[in-house]
């Protein structure tokens, strides 16, 4: 029966090519724009590190002194050096790393190069599953001894050393030389969740070195620094400034619960020690909670998605109208089929098959339009443009959306068509 309906549908669609084309075009435009924006949403709200996102926790706390504390304010993202050093000393998590972004100028043949840098700890590399092409990351002992070591990206390795194994060579930073102990493999996190304050999307840093070393050498850090009182050196051990990011790896939910309790105890101890009299706040957010809290998907993208879905709705309304016109135009034909014994259900199904065929055709064209739309998105000068691509799931979703929306649009016209009274239709013909 289905094959017969399909045949009828194709015949009917061929009979009025202009109207069919208009319907397919309307659905395709709606599907194309919706899938373009939904793909952008899908990529931007994706999990950058799916294998570990539930085990990595961003630690935030509020240790403002009383006169800078405003109840109801959001918990600050960054920590003071004092708290970071205390947490690192306790080392209650399976792995933990404090970090900050920085920038430095390294000597190279010809022109010096400005490179983006991350100052962090030895645990950073196993925590975030960072692959190494040559050598290995520095050790916790290097952190403790403020060793003059660095890990560089494969891009910088290509630029400075032509891509060969550069482990053991030196990186000249001002008067200081750093020994290269490792070269990264391909590693880019997008969104760059471990530090969203220096561009949410983009390449990973070119140079990594121990935070202790960077502090020792007084290398300049970048990113937000918030001090609650005047200080000469915002990076000093007891500076009243929050500027360091802190991540902990906790492999089981039980450990995470224990760690959260530890943070509460830590805050309580700080309060007892007289740093502040308010209750203080401390929390550990896993990767997806953290991305959610930071609102990584830009407001513009959300707005575009709603706009596109609204547009799809209007396209569907349009399709309902056109299908209605199409089916009712065939009242005579439907009357004949009814008179020959077709049930209302049969007419209804036949009409829905026709709507589905229009929907699938619209889906195919819509996919082409979405591909075009994504090319446009990739040519936009946004920082996430390069990472937008369609995957298999979105491809399937396109057809599901096209089919579902065309069937939905077909319901009302098919219902009207099945109510055509055979006698009236035949007489008026």
């Amino acid at each position: 029966m289905f094959g017969y309906y399909l045949d009828l549908a194709l015949r009917s669609l061929k009979r009025n090519k202009a109207l069919t084309a208009l319907m397919v075009l309307a659905i395709a435009l709606g599907i194309g724009t919706s899938m373009t924006t939904l793909t952008v949403m899908h990529v931007l709200s994706g999990d950058p590190i799916p294998q570990k996102s539930a085990q990595l926790f961003r630690v935030r706390m509020n240790v403002f002194p009383d006169d800078s504390f405003r109840p109801g304010d959001k918990v600050p993202d960054n920590l003071t050096r004092r708290d970071v050093e205390a947490l690192l000393r306790d080392a209650r998590a399976d792995r933990q790393a404090a970090m900050s972004a920085g920038a430095m100028v390294v000597a190279a043949q010809g022109e010096p190069l400005r490179v983006a840098t991350r100052y962090t700890g030895a645990d950073f590399f196993p925590m975030f599953d960072v692959p190494m092409r040559y050598g290995r990351a520095w050790s916790r002992a290097d952190d403790a001894s403020r060793a003059r070591v660095a890990v560089i990206s494969s891009v910088l390795n290509e630029q400075l050393f032509g891509g060969v194994d550069s482990v053991g060579k030196t990186l000249q930073v001002g008067e200081q030389s750093l020994r290269i102990v490792g070269v990264l493999g391909d590693w880019n996190m997008n969104p760059r969740f471990y530090d969203l304050s220096n561009g949410q999307f983009g390449d990973s840093e070119q140079v990594f070195l121990p935070l202790s070393t960077a502090l020792d050498l007084k290398l300049s850090s970048s990113g937000s620094t918030n001090c609650w009182s005047r200080t000469n050196d915002a990076r000093a051990a007891d500076a009243p400034c929050i500027w360091l990011q802190y991540w902990a790896e906790l492999d089981t939910p039980a450990k995470a619960a224990t760690y959260r309790q530890y943070l509460q105890n830590y805050i309580a101890l700080q309060q007892q020690a007289g740093r502040f009299s308010h209750a203080g706040q401390a929390e550990a957010l896993d990767v997806m909670q953290w991305l959610d809290a930071k609102g990584v998907v830009p407001a513009d993208v959300r707005l575009q998605t709603w706009l596109a879905l609204g547009f799809l709705g209007i396209c569907l309304l349009n399709t309902v109208g056109l299908l209605l016109a199409k089916f009712l135009r065939r009242s005579g034909e439907i009357g004949v089929r009814r008179a020959l014994g077709a049930s209302r259900r049969a007419i209804f199904l036949q009409c829905l098959v026709e709507a589905g065929v229009v929907g699938l055709a619209g889906g195919v064209l819509g996919l082409a339009l979405a591909a075009l739309g994504l090319v446009l998105v990739r040519h936009q000068p946004t920082d996430y443009a390069a990472y937008i691509h369609m995957d298999l799931r979105m491809l399937l979703a396109t057809f599901v959306l096209a089919l579902a929306s065309s069937l939905l649009a077909g319901l009302l016209p098919a219902w009207r068509a099945m109510q055509v009274a055979p006698a009236v239709a035949l007489k008026s013909n």
């Binding site: 001002g174 706009l307 209007i314 056109l322 209605l324 016109a325």
Partner: protein, 407 residues
């Protein structure tokens, strides 16, 4: 034209008419709000900065080896002299932060030095005595800093207090509404006396509520080049590229090994373009969606009207046979469309208002100004009339003889 006849005819197609009315209503609502969004983006992109944008270029220089503070300061003076000697350069200066740049330097500012006093974050520009002239800033009240008021960076770092400050008119109006700010005191770096009021200067990039964009302060500090950027004003806008080339050459010719690269040298105009690129992209996207939406709505009108024309061929033939002119038939369909569009637009206005409330709640967006409603209405009326013209002309072309051909 008898509306009553048209209405009773439409009454026989209630569902189709309802669909068309809904489609026009939703289109109207989306188009009104989209036009408003486009308008507010364009307005945002045209905000003035208060500096002589067309004539400014800037360059960031990285130091490779850290010299002594005195040596860096001496190098800065040498550089500035070299930059000012380049043909076509009107003035050059060091500034701690650049407009449309990534870095934003701000202090909490309040009217009292009590710790609990309400304060707002205000961005601070610091620079030498030539900065105001280089940027092309305009003073509306008070005076510029005196030469002996400029301090060094070390003095600033060591907690120098009592620095005079020049603030923008927007900030002055915020703190001292209805009175002159000159001679008043604000608390930013300790206690600061206001000596002048600028017509306008803005944050490097939007930070905080929209009205904070025009809040800025200027402090008299002689900075070394490592703490900011060189900003250069050229005499002729056409010479910007040439001056940048000359400036890179001049700085490379002298001084220690430094990071001097065209990668970190820009015209302010290109920085502005880059800063607003998302807004521009969004505005174009909205224009695109509006056009597509109108096309789809027109398609709907054409499709349904064609169906009605085909269905009523005999009735049209009969009307022609008993004396209706082609013009009568044409006007019939035009009037019918006008009625449907009017219903749709009326409903669309209500929806547009509701959509605007929704947008206001979830996005930072103001109330939809009243003049967008008639604009949306006229657009959809015109669209309806254009879309109906084809089918209506076909209807008008139906010959009277159709009336006699039956079954």
């Amino acid at each position: 034209m008898h509306f009553r006849h048209i209405l009773s005819a439409l009454g026989r197609h209630r569902i189709a008419v309802g669909l068309l009315v809904l489609e026009i209503a939703f289109s109207c609502a989306v188009v009104c709000n989209a036009l408003f969004l486009i308008g507010s983006r364009l307005e945002r992109m045209q905000r003035p900065t208060g500096v002589d944008e067309a004539h400014l270029v800037e360059m960031f220089i990285g130091s490779v080896t850290r010299g002594s503070a005195d040596a860096v300061m001496a190098q800065t003076r040498t550089d500035l002299a070299a930059l000012r000697a380049i043909p076509g350069v009107a003035n050059a200066s060091v500034v701690n932060q650049t407009l449309f740049g990534n870095s934003l330097n701000a202090s909490g500012v309040s009217l009292s030095d009590e710790a609990k006093a309400p304060s707002i974050p205000v961005t601070q520009y610091m620079g030498d005595a030539q900065l105001a002239d280089t940027l092309g800033l305009k003073l509306v009240d008070g005076q510029w800093f005196k030469p002996d008021e400029f301090i060094t960076e070390e003095q600033l770092e060591s907690g120098h207090s009592g620095l005079p400050v020049i603030i923008t008119k927007a900030l002055a109006d915020h703190f001292f509404p209805g009175q002159s700010a000159v001679g008043k005191t604000i608390h930013a770096f300790g206690t600061n006396r206001v000596v002048g009021v600028l017509d306008r200067l803005v944050q490097p990039h939007d930070s905080g509520p929209a009205e904070y964009y025009g809040y800025a302060m200027l402090f008299p500090v002689n900075l070394p080049y490592t703490e900011g950027a060189y900003v250069i004003r050229v005499r002729d806008a056409a010479q910007r590229a040439a001056v940048l080339q000359g400036a890179l050459r001049a700085l490379k010719a002298d001084g220690p090994l430094r990071l001097i690269s065209p990668k970190y040298a820009f015209t302010l105009e290109s920085q502005r373009d880059k800063y607003y690129r998302n807004d521009r992209a969004m505005a174009w996207m909205l224009v695109g969606v509006c056009l597509l939406l109108l096309v789809v709505t027109a398609v709907g009108i054409v499709g349904l009207t064609s169906f009605w024309v085909a269905q009523r061929r005999r009735q049209i033939g009969i009307r022609r046979a008993i004396g209706a002119t082609r013009g009568d038939i044409l006007r019939y369909f035009q009037t019918e469309n006008f009625l449907i569009a009017t219903l749709g637009i009326a409903l669309g206005m209500v929806l547009a208002f509701g959509l605007n409330l929704l947008l206001m709640r979830h996005y930072e967006l103001g109330r939809l100004p009243g003049y967008y409603f008639p604009v949306g209405a006229i657009v959809l009326w015109l669209l309806g009339q254009l879309a109906v013209l084809g089918p209506a002309l076909r209807a008008a072309a139906v010959p009277p003889v159709v009336a006699t051909r039956s079954v």
